[in-house]
């Protein structure tokens, strides 16, 4: 076969594998020898993983207490009554008593949980200024427009930190007390409140503005705290390394949650006698009740939990793996049956052809 005269000569197409579409290629076919083993192997692997996940999730111990104070549950209902509207309610404390019959294996983590709180609402989650939070002096004085209406005070002073997220900083506080024997004294369990936020957050994303004359307060001079805050940002904590924008509670709060029900880490319990966990005995969690949630139908919980290699207690993934793995095996058998049944028929068809 020859190409026409016109196709010859200078305009002869390149005869390469690429131009002639003959690149070496692998043409995988979804044949039984690939599909069936794939399903059986995947099924077995998933069931294995599922069992692992399920048992490790089940092995996690969790204690939680709803201290919202709805209708006479526990000691917090009194505080809850005071929780009305938006205005900061008067300080109020209540407590959660519980006892452990055996060791609560450590390390133990203390979380607070909010429900029906839409930190992921778009309007809310954009209301921040990352430039200001990263310590840029210019942004400190000129918060981004997204922060409105928490951009400036009525007096014109820029708010630092600006925005709705910062303004709604969670401000309940907890302390944990332990009594070994009945009638004994309550000993305060040391709560490790450092290192509860991501390292990158405290060291990269959140930075204090440069100190002025060695003073953080002066650095924030000329700014106002968010309206809901009782004290300015540089006074969040007496620890100079944990105050200002890098205050760990603040940083944790500023990492907004994905879903309207969320937990945030409050403290780790890993010091002294409690490094192995919470020994048996009775405990009390003293709660300073400040944060109003009843207006929007939210609830507040305090949670004690330990963790495993895969994190906190959540049976979902383990069950999902088990279900998917079993389905894989089931489908694998269906495919096998269908394959055997139709393989013969196809062969016959071919013979007929």
């Amino acid at each position: 076969m020859t190409w026409s005269a016109a196709a010859r000569g200078a305009h002869q197409p390149d005869n390469t594998a690429f131009t002639q579409q003959r690149l070496p290629a692998w043409q995988p076919l979804l044949s039984a020898s690939i599909a069936l083993p794939l399903f059986f192997c995947a099924g077995l692997a998933f069931i294995g993983l599922g069992l692992g996940l399920f048992y490790s999730s089940n092995g996690i111990k969790e204690l939680e207490y709803d201290y919202t104070g709805t209708a006479g549950t526990g000691g917090c209902s009194a505080c809850a009554l005071a929780d009305r509207g938006r205005a900061p309610p008067p300080p109020c404390s209540c407590a959660w008593h519980f006892s452990l019959a055996e060791l609560f294996p450590g390390p133990v983590y203390l979380y607070y949980e909010l429900t029906n709180f839409y930190q992921n609402n778009r309007r809310y989650s954009v209301s921040r200024d990352d430039a200001q939070l990263s310590g840029l002096p210019s942004a400190l004085r000129h918060p981004a427009n997204e922060c409105a209406p928490y951009q400036r005070r009525a007096s014109g002073l820029p708010i630092a930190p600006c925005g709705a997220i910062a303004n709604s900083l969670f401000n309940d506080s907890f302390s944990l007390w332990h009594r070994r024997r009945a009638g004994g004294p309550y000993v305060e369990v040391p709560l490790d409140r450092t290192g509860i936020a991501w390292w990158t957050d405290c060291h990269v994303k959140f930075r204090n503005p440069p100190l002025v004359n060695g003073s953080l307060a002066l650095a924030f001079h000329g700014t106002a705290p968010p309206p809901n805050w009782p004290r300015p940002v540089y006074a969040l904590s007496p620890d100079p390394n944990n105050t200002g924008f890098v205050n760990q509670d603040f940083v944790v709060w500023m990492r907004t949650a994905a879903l309207p029900t969320f937990r945030k880490l409050y403290a780790r319990i890993r010091q002294g006698n409690y490094s192995a966990g919470l020994p048996r005995g009775s405990y009390v969690v003293n709660i300073t009740y400040n944060y109003p949630v009843r207006a929007f139908g939210g609830r507040k919980l305090v949670v004690l939990s330990n963790i495993s290699w895969m994190g906190g207690k959540n049976p979902f993934l383990g069950i999902a793996y088990l279900a998917v793995g079993s389905l894989c095996i089931l489908v694998g058998f269906v495919m096998l049956v269908v394959y055997i049944r139709y393989q013969d028929q196809n062969d016959e068809d071919e013979d007929e052809e």
Partner: protein
């Protein structure tokens, strides 16, 4: 209506104020265009604004412009401005680049043409550029020059100021046409100084696009002379055979007929384009509905929860319904990626790439590729497309004896070696004839049978061919290639036609020159189907020689004519070999009989009314009692591989219609030759359609074009489409287009028209796909076609391989594209239910920006370019594979919805599995990973892995490029994500990159990886299962072939083509003759008998070669 006024040699005349038209407010322009042509669209300044304007005229681009504007409104801006701007810029940029390259090419082309030179006569002679020629100029053209404008022929070097032109570029005909100047200009305008002082004034019609019409008047020397198209040389033609000629420019540049004809090329869109548009509209409607639903949801949520949530206070006093309204726009912006912005540009890129592949393979030009996989009907021209338009003398039957088989001189048939007959004994042989029957030569030399010599003598004398002699070489110019073939054959066999005058003809009979008086030429026409010549031999005998169709000749034979039966048998054999036959016969005429007849003839030829009919009647009287000499068989050479191609295409369920201007007989003959018709085909002629219902038929077109069209047209199309092949004969170029249009309209099928001449241009432009054969008939067909190549047989590769691949690729591409965008976008929808319908995005803005551009585009583009389910060889071997495209099996509304549902399910899995995994969980180190940013990263990672693996599943041809692009895209995603989440970039742009540290913190957790793995598995495993099951239970043709690929490869050496067995020949006339009317008039008028002419063949050969060069440069 002759309002176009041109004055010779007077440029200022045309610049008078009343010839000026106002163009813009005050800028005036002469109504006479100058000769510069402009086909480009932009110049350096207008490119940017005009191109942008053009691009924003497209709905998709405009839509994204609107989105961009919406995003600039702070209340509703839910996505950063760059998420739309960046992809839009990429899309606009790519399109603009392509337009720029195209336009630069047009600029170059225009420049080349405008700067060609030409001689202008004006106070002497000088060369000027084409673009400087103006109306009224007198120009001088030489042999083989292109004509630069439409000019009036004033005089030429030839007698009577004849001028020969080749109009191939205009109408596709390669026959030379002659134009003749007015008597008066011929007489007075030969000399240069006469031309410079020529002051004729022409009034004629305004510029128009009718190539064969012209009316005007020349006023000169106080007399008026009528002008018609015979005196006009049109731009684009080539001067042939005429040493030089002079002419006056009447229309220049944009006013010329060829430019008026070129018109705007209609923008062709493929079926998939239309489908795609409807789907985009569907998606758009879905987008609005979904946004509206979510907006309502938001208003409700706001009333129930949002209003009571003090932490959401934003200082604005909006009502919940107003917030819902704002969120509607917010969702329009967020969900805009449902309407795929890069769809159109990707489709264009894929088409361009596929065009390159086709080009690399076949030497084809450009861009409706996937449509090639959906052809139902092919409309083919005959001459030059199916056939080479080369006639060769193959066989003959003399006195009942057939010559032309491979006979050795011993008369033994079928010698093992085919050695052609040696014609070297004959000084006039042109060496082009390959003839294998040595016995015939012996017969001629021995002279044993007088009929043999008589036979060739007849061929040499009975024709209207004209001859030229240069350097001792004879050159024939025939009105039809059949006639040329016969005269050349006679010449090779020793009976060379040497010269003719008005009434003599000189023949060299085996070396002896003899001159005969031609008493009359009874010319050919399609009713008579024969031509005769009456000559007086030097001895004084009068003889009539006649050649014509067997049917008409047999009616007129003498009852006692010998070898009737043998010749009839021979004719049948020739017919079964699809050779074109003519019968030859002669008769002696008594002097007295001739005298008597001649009187009637003279009377008839000066009759003022019905002259043709009167002549026919007179001819009839003398053409009787003929004595049969034999028959000739000419082969109308097919292009290479035509029958194979046609049978392949037929197996692919493509119907082939041949549309030809030829006569019925010719068309039928060629139908048999290219195996479109076979002996067991029932042929139904158009005339008797009414009665029967038929399997196959052919039709005469004139029936079709009567009034009361609608129903008849529909009936015609319905009937014709029942037939497996249709041949329409005697169709004009316009009718060709109408036939195509009818099928397009009533059958809603994809049509392809293929042709090589300018007479096919209409058809090529009308059909969905036009293919131009770059052959002898000029370049017009190629220019207006979508594809062009050199031979008909490439069509099978174009359709069965490239068309099919392109279609499959485009369909897979589109299905995947809609899937991937739905899977991506609808995650926002599911997330809405958990964020108060607040138009929160489920991904980082940068991810949204780059998803369509970087993370998911390359693999699908490569699949659209490279994928092939079965190899080219197997595609050709199993034409049945082509059917998927014709039936729209791979992309239609059903498949579209399947893709959407697939996308929707994928988005659900992508959202809900991470959601379950994130419920109240914490990280490995106790820190809460259930933050928004980690969640976004988890979903995005699962999405990228899923869609890239999905394209891996869809790819059936994994080259290293595919593998590289798929894994590359995933790697690119992780690379870019880690960069964008790095500390460094946050320090530089703290507000733009807010996800600092998320990737490293989240992806450190095995829990998140397990979530991603499960999500990907749940997305993909069902696809694998469904594919496997459907492949096992309902395997498609292509699946089966793929399965047995190895075995099929082993038996690759199948017979390329079985020897075609033709059934027993039935009685049918194989008569065919391609021309309508000879040059008899011209010969008897004596005008064309020139003293001297150059060899015509040489000129034509030179000319085409030169023309090619011009076109290529």
């Amino acid at each position: 209506d002759c309002t176009w006024q041109v004055k010779a040699n007077d440029r200022s005349f045309h610049e008078q104020p009343h010839f000026m038209n106002t163009k813009f407010f005050c800028i005036k322009e002469s109504k006479y265009a100058n000769n510069a042509i402009k086909t480009y669209k932009y110049n350096a300044f207008s490119f940017l604004p005009m191109n942008l304007f053009e691009q924003f005229k497209r709905a998709a681009n405009f839509y994204f412009l609107i989105l961009l504007i919406l995003q600039a409104i702070p209340q509703i801006s839910t996505l950063a401005w760059y998420t739309t701007l960046f992809p839009l810029l990429v899309v606009l940029g790519i399109t603009a680049m392509k337009d720029l390259v195209d336009d630069v090419a047009r600029h170059k082309m225009d420049n080349e043409i405008n700067n060609r030179t030409c001689e202008v006569i004006k106070d002497g002679r000088y060369f000027t550029k084409w673009k400087e020629i103006q109306v009224g100029d007198i120009i001088r053209l030489k042999k083989n020059d292109f004509i630069p404008a439409d000019i009036l022929l004033l005089s030429s070097s030839e007698p009577n100021s004849l001028c020969y032109v080749e109009t191939a570029e205009l109408d596709g005909e390669t026959n030379l046409k002659f134009k003749m100047a007015l008597e008066i200009t011929h007489q007075y305008l030969q000399r240069e100084n006469a031309l410079t002082t020529f002051d004729g004034f022409i009034e004629c019609e305004e510029p128009n696009n009718r190539l064969d019409k012209f009316t005007g008047t020349l006023f000169w020397r106080n007399t008026s002379f009528p002008l018609d198209a015979d005196k006009i040389l049109l731009r684009g033609c080539v001067i042939r055979n005429t040493d030089f000629c002079h002419g006056m420019v009447i229309f220049a540049g944009a006013d010329t007929k060829i430019m008026k004809n070129s018109g705007k090329t209609r923008f062709k869109r493929t079926k998939i384009d239309y489908l795609m548009n409807y789907m985009v509209y569907t998606i758009f409607v879905v987008l609005i509905l979904v946004s509206a639903g979510l907006a309502i949801g938001h208003a409700y949520w706001e009333a129930q929860i949002g209003n009571n949530s003090w932490y959401l206070y934003d200082g604005e006093d909006y009502t919940p319904s107003y917030r819902g309204f704002l969120n509607f726009w917010g969702y329009i912006i967020i969900l805009n990626t449902m309407v795929p912005i890069s769809l159109y540009v990707s489709v264009e890129v894929i088409r361009l790439g596929q065009s390159y592949f086709i080009n690399w393979d076949l030497q084809i030009t450009t861009t409706l590729n996937e449509q090639l996989g959906q052809i139902h009907y092919i409309f083919s021209d005959k001459t030059g497309t199916l056939t080479q338009n080369i006639m060769t003398f193959k066989k003959c039957c003399i006195n009942g004896q057939i010559y032309g088989e491979w006979n050795t001189s011993k008369g033994m048939s079928l010698a093992p070696e085919k050695d052609p007959v040696d014609f070297s004994w004959n000084m006039f042989a042109d060496g082009k004839l390959a003839f294998y029957d040595h016995y015939l030569i012996e017969q001629i030399h021995s002279g044993k049978e007088s009929e043999v010599r008589q036979f060739f003598f007849l061929l040499a004398v009975c024709h209207t061919v004209m001859v030229d002699r240069i350097d001792g070489q004879l050159n024939y110019q025939a009105a039809s290639p059949d006639e040329g073939a016969l005269v050349s054959a006679a010449r090779n066999f020793g009976f060379a036609f040497l010269a003719r005058t008005q009434n003599t003809i000189t023949i060299s009979e085996l070396g002896t020159e003899r001159t005969y008086d031609v008493l009359a030429i009874l010319d050919f026409n399609s009713d008579r189907k024969r031509m005769s010549i009456i000559v007086r031999t030097p001895e004084g005998n009068i003889r009539l020689y006649c050649k014509g169709a067997d049917t008409v000749i047999y009616e007129r034979l003498h009852q006692m004519s010998p070898t009737k039966q043998e010749t009839q048998d021979a004719l049948d054999i020739f017919a079964s070999e699809t050779l074109r036959t003519l019968c030859l016969c002669y008769k002696e005429i008594e002097e007295k009989e001739y005298e008597e007849w001649n009187k009637k003839f003279m009377a008839a030829s000066i009759a003022s009314t019905n002259r043709d009919e009167a002549l026919d009647k007179v001819y009839e009287e003398i053409e009787k009692d003929l004595i049969l000499l034999g028959a000739t068989a000419i082969e109308d050479k097919l292009q290479d591989g035509v029958p194979e191609t046609i049978s392949k295409l037929a197996k692919a369920d493509i119907k082939i219609w041949v549309l030809t201007g030829d006569k019925k007989e010719t068309a039928e003959n060629i139908g048999f030759a290219c195996e479109l018709l076979t002996e067991d085909t029932t042929i139904c002629y158009g005339e008797d359609i009414k009665t029967e219902e038929e399997r196959r038929m052919r039709t005469q077109s004139k029936r079709r074009l009567e009034a009361r069209k609608e129903q008849r047209q529909k009936n015609f199309v319905d009937l014709a489409c029942e037939c497996s092949a249709v041949i329409c004969c005697r169709v004009t170029p316009k009718q060709k287009a109408m036939v195509v249009d009818l099928v397009k309209r009533y059958k809603k099928a994809i049509t392809l028209a293929i042709g090589d001449g300018a007479n096919d241009v209409n058809m090529i432009k009308t059909a969905h796909i036009g293919v131009g054969i770059s052959g002898q008939e000029g370049m017009q067909a190629v220019m207006s076609s979508d594809y062009s190549f050199a031979q008909f047989r490439y069509l099978q590769r174009l359709l069965l391989v490239h068309g099919r691949w392109s279609y499959i690729r485009m369909c897979k591409f589109l299905r995947y594209f809609f899937y991937k965008n739905f899977a991506f976008t609808l995650v926002h929808f599911w997330y809405s239910f958990f964020n108060g319908y607040s138009a929160q995005t489920a991904y980082e803005d940068w991810f949204i920006t780059l998803y369509n551009v970087l993370y998911s585009s390359l693999p699908v583009l490569l699949m659209g370019l490279l994928d092939q389910d079965v190899s080219d060889k197997l595609s050709l071997r199993f034409p049945g594979l082509y059917v998927v495209g014709q039936r729209d099996l791979l992309f239609n509304y059903k498949k579209f919805f399947v893709s959407l549902v697939h996308g929707i399910l994928t988005s659900m899995i992508l959202f809900f599995i991470p959601l379950g995994a994130y419920l109240q969980t914490v990280g490995q180190d106790g820190e809460a990973p259930s933050d928004y940013q980690s969640f976004a990263v988890t979903i995005a990672s699962a999405l990228i892995i899923t869609v890239n693996f999905q394209i891996g599943l869809d790819t059936s041809y994994w080259t290293f490029v595919n593998a590289f692009s798929i894994f590359g895209s995933i790697a690119l995603y992780f690379g870019i994500m880690f960069d964008f989440h790095s500390a460094g970039i946050h320090v530089l742009f703290p507000s733009a990159f807010q996800f600092t540290g998320t990737a490293s913190n989240a992806l450190r957790q095995p829990y998140i990886w397990l979530t991603i793995i499960l999500t990907v598995a749940v997305c993909l495993l069902p696809v694998v299962a469904i594919r496997f099951l459907s492949m096992t239970i309902w395997p498609s043709e292509s699946d089966k072939i793929q399965k047995h690929r190895k075995r099929l490869k082993a038996e690759e050496q199948w017979k390329r083509r079985q020897v075609f067995r033709r059934g027993v020949s039935s009685r049918r006339s194989a008569y065919a003759f391609s021309h309508q009317r000879g040059y008899a008039d011209l010969i008897s008028s004596g005008r064309s008998i020139r003293k001297k002419r150059s060899p015509l063949d040489a000129i034509i050969a030179d000319g085409t070669a030169e023309y090619r060069r011009t076109v290529e440069s």
